[in-house]
Amino acid sequence: MDFAAVVVMEICYAIAVLVLISTGLAVIFGMMRVINLAHGEFLTLGGYAAIMSNQAGLNIYLSILVAAPLAAAIFGFLVERLIVRFLYGRLINTMLATWGLSLAMIGGFSMIFGNTTTGITTPISGFAVGKYQISGYNLFVIAIAALVIGGVYLILKISRAGLVARGAMQNPEMAQAFGYNTSRVYMFTFVAGSALAGLAGGVMAPLVGINPAAGAAYIAKAFITVISGGTAVISGTLASAGLFGFVSQTFTFLATPVVGEIALLFAAVVLLRLLPTGITGRFLKDKV
């Protein structure tokens, strides 16, 4: 019974991690059709921001929840203004540009922080479920993921800014005719996506430790989640993260982490073969 609770908890945690690392990418890709290949490095940037500000004496929760997304947002703003905004609508070009950016960022991190792994201690101690000990920080990760996905949903669905953003993405000319500055809207969306990536990096930093190439470990999973989810930012990310998190953890428990990873990739291949436009390309079509 206790073991079942632990397994459920680990599955929720795996789903939460997928949601966290892919929401930023989903916002940028799902809404703007820009593939940000530097997404992993945005995560790394958030991680470094959290670690550095914590080492400089900032409260750990402020480091993770404020410093990390803020640093990534500022950097995302610069990237959007200096690079990405010239390339909207040119999918291949944005991929090339952001790939170059990711290489440059890895190089930059190595120069600034050195080619080593740095980390901080998790702020929450473990607790017992029956005879099992569970990481309290895992619960924190799950809570943050829930808040993030709920927050993005509310903003897109209820707020005026969300409505304008969705309108500008669907029909830029019409939005412009109504007097909205679409270039502005794109900018804010990109910055928001970057901030979410930074937040994910900050939240993951105490668990995995950050090195200059740490983003590479997440980029593939984030992309698989987003592509399999399809165009709907919230329901797509939730559906695919739920599916893949469940599959990978179940197989990890039954066999080993290797089998878990294989199962995840296999599930993705089968899913994209059957639903080439992603889960929300077929189901939940008119959802956010």
Binding site: Y132, V208, G209
Partner: protein, 406 residues
Amino acid sequence: MSVNRRKVLKGAAATTAVLAMPSIIRAEETIKLGSILDTSGIFDLYGKPMDKAVDMAIDEINSAGGVAGRQVEKVAYDTQSDMALYTQYGQRLARQDKVDVVHGGILSASREAIRPTLRKNKVLYFYNVQYEGGVCDRNIFCTGITPAQQAEVLVPAAMEKWGKKVYVLAADYNYGQITAKWIQHYAKQAGGEVVQVDFFPLDVADFGSTIAKIQDAAPDMIMSVLVGGAHLSFYRQWAAAGMNTKIPMASTTMGAGNEQVVLTKEEGDGIMLAYSFSKQLETPANQGFLERWKTRYGATDDVHELAVATYQGVHLWAEGARKAGSVERDDVIAALEGGAAFDGPTGRISIDPKTHHATFDVHLVEVKDQKMAVQKTFVQRPPVDTQTVCNLEENPNDTTQYEIDI
């Protein structure tokens, strides 16, 4: 090529300078020591301090009068963490630079890339790195620590302290698999059992389910053979779950790249290790070595097991050459097989003639406040793993790397 006045003058000046030098330091008179290490790229954490160690050892040898009255000169190549470059630079060292000895190689793959070339060209080769053991080749000396040398002292000591049920976590490549076998071997010998062995690819960074599985198995202790930056997450997640105070851990790999400094005090404290080197080894030789390193490079933060093994490897070669009175390959091999030894930071190091691996002191250490506190010293441990498969006295033409079957 155009010849102008400036070039002629430059050339003439250089020639005069060379002629004016005392004969002892003229290029053709010096002994060439080839060094081939990854001093950039993803393995530079290991390679850079090793390169510093080579420089320091050479300078010490030279200021003590060199070898056989000749000074030693370093010919170094940076292989940039790229295995293909090892083949290329290995060829260059042997054929073009015609060096007298080569020290270097970090990963086993890099060693295997240059070992055949150096043997064919009759260039003596020193591989000074902790590795999985089993290389049997008269042209090479492996001076690093091998799995059995660690497991032999670590497993019984940890089991005596903590209990008989062992859970092994290992990196999924040959080093991890071979070391896991040795751990099982010594656990059985000490009357205990290994309840489970889990292997992890080098990029796995999420150990949540593993931690739950370990608790399900309820072992008395964990043996970690995890390797690299991603696996470092295990120690963090283990501590985050509060398990570090519940189930104790020993490791053959943690600390080789100074991981105890990367992890916080709470995450690292209490982990038991076995190495030939520890900064906290309070012998005059070790403290003197660290003092010299500090004077030369400013700080000793980057000194690790591999750097010290490299430092001792270069000195050991010099001792062999001094004893032989020459740097000819066969003379040096004979001298080292005949018992030439070096008293270095970790204690005395000498060569086991049957395997061309090293015999040295192994220290049982415990991580405390991000330091490796020495608990006990096991003097002069021979390379027992390679000894089970390799006998160069009987088969001098052997070149195999054996997979040791226990």
